[in-house]
Point group: C2
Chain length 268, copies 2
Amino acid sequence: MSSSMSRTLKIGIIGYGPFAQFLAKIMMKQGHIISATSRSDYSHICSQLGLTFFTEIEPFMDADHDVILICTSILSLSKVLKSLPIHRLKKPILFAEVLSVKEHPKDLLLQVLPEDFDVLCTHPMFGPESGKDGWKDLPFVYDKVRIRDEEICSRFLQIFKDEGCRMVEMSCEEHDKLAARSQFLTHTVGRVLSEMEIESTSMDTKGFQKLLQLKESTMKNSFDLYSGLFVHNRFAKQELKNLELALQTVKQKLLERMDDALEDQKDS
Amino acid sequence: MSSSMSRTLKIGIIGYGPFAQFLAKIMMKQGHIISATSRSDYSHICSQLGLTFFTEIEPFMDADHDVILICTSILSLSKVLKSLPIHRLKKPILFAEVLSVKEHPKDLLLQVLPEDFDVLCTHPMFGPESGKDGWKDLPFVYDKVRIRDEEICSRFLQIFKDEGCRMVEMSCEEHDKLAARSQFLTHTVGRVLSEMEIESTSMDTKGFQKLLQLKESTMKNSFDLYSGLFVHNRFAKQELKNLELALQTVKQKLLERMDDALEDQKDS
Ligand SMILES: NC(=O)c1ccc[n+]([C@@H]2O[C@H](COP(=O)([O-])OP(=O)(O)OC[C@H]3O[C@@H](n4cnc5c(N)ncnc54)[C@H](OP(=O)(O)O)[C@@H]3O)[C@@H](O)[C@H]2O)c1
Ligand SMILES: NC(=O)c1ccc[n+]([C@@H]2O[C@H](COP(=O)([O-])OP(=O)(O)OC[C@H]3O[C@@H](n4cnc5c(N)ncnc54)[C@H](OP(=O)(O)O)[C@@H]3O)[C@@H](O)[C@H]2O)c1
């Protein structure tokens, strides 16, 4: 086997939505062999791209993958995993996943998978929008939750290294803590601005232009994704409270200034 | 007089804070003759730059300016204008101002200035931070509130045209409506993020990096400036309400999803 052949992985993707399609393109470009299955029928776009699409889960499980990569929505993960006919797999393999929360899939995978299956939890911190010009220097977070076959695991991680990602090893818990204060907060601000229906004006400042871009890019993600960041990250609720509190503090300071100004008016 | 000589203006700046200093540098570079007065003593930095600083207001008023340019904080404008010995001016001249709200200075200037003084209300939609690499294509909003000496007014506007600003003529009311939904909102988001003490992590998304930049640039402005955007723009209060409401709507949608997820758990 040539060295490039030996690096080739047979990857089976479960959940072929926007993010999985985005990942699959790069993986195919690198020479990996990709197949996919999903709730909806993607056989048409898959045949165009040259990857196998399974409408039924059983033949997908029979297809002898090195890695099964879970790319379903956060909210559907539990249902999807519990309906998987794991007993159809001929041997224990690596399960990897890319959900934007990490403790939840970790817990579920350890729950549903037999003890001799490997588990790699990952979060590529970019998407079809922010990663459209390549993945160079973009953070890829991962936690080797239960890895015995180091060879397969490192070949999988190599996919992201080869694209130039900044590899960040971190526990699922630490990820969720940080993500609640950064990614969830960012999406929340984007959703709030969208709810306000902010629009470009003839006199946008550079700062306002940043907010408009943030609104646009946030709204390209599904509401399933956004609400998953909240429902299945136990640190998110507190950050939402912190955001509300911070807004109230800022408002309070403004109202105090308003009172001062009214006082000054009376005095003059 | 050479054409470049004839374009030279004698500009007297009242309020020599960060924004006035930023403007003065460009005006001097263009060959205009600048002097300044302020509450605090800036004679040292002014003498270094080669402009005259008046610690007393009377000699400043005697100095035969073509334009008096008001650059004080929004909150102090009323006090500053009311204490100006306007009677010391030998002839009616142009009063221009650059405050980040527009109806308030317009009303005050029309109130304190004799009828034969010209009034130009402007808002350069950039500052020392966003305009540090030049003013090209940055919006300059203005309202020719009361102009008889078109020549002086257009020479003043030419300062901003020459730097490549996008000139946007608009009523003060229209400005305040739009600015409440754009600039005030942007500063509010920046202040809220600062109140939350968000910090860079090892796994920042591009969106979160935008928020960090917004926080940094917002906090470079004084709280006087920010609170002025609220206290003296009659449209800002409603936009603050809209922001609170939008956050509540987004939160409500998240809590509904949380309930759905709990229901699903019970069912399975
Ligand atoms: N987009 C990004 O920027 C990004 C970045 C990093 C990580 N991620 C993670 O990647 C995953 C996929 O994200 P996404 O952007 O493609 O959108 P998403 O809305 O989070 O997930 C869409 C996927 O979930 C499947 N799905 C949804 N509900 C289902 C259900 N009830 N039963 C079975 N399958 C269901 C969809 O299947 P069908 O299409 O077949 O209906 C589709 O494959 C998510 O976990 C997300 O957190 C996304
Ligand atoms: N910074 C920007 O990006 C920007 C952009 C466009 C327009 N503007 C407008 O430009 C003006 C100046 O802004 P800025 O950024 O320099 O900061 P600012 O905090 O809004 O204003 C500072 C100026 O106000 C004066 N001032 C404050 N309180 C005073 C008082 N009680 N009595 C007399 N003078 C007082 C200060 O005088 P001393 O320094 O002498 O104490 C200083 O000259 C504001 O109206 C602002 O809205 C600013």
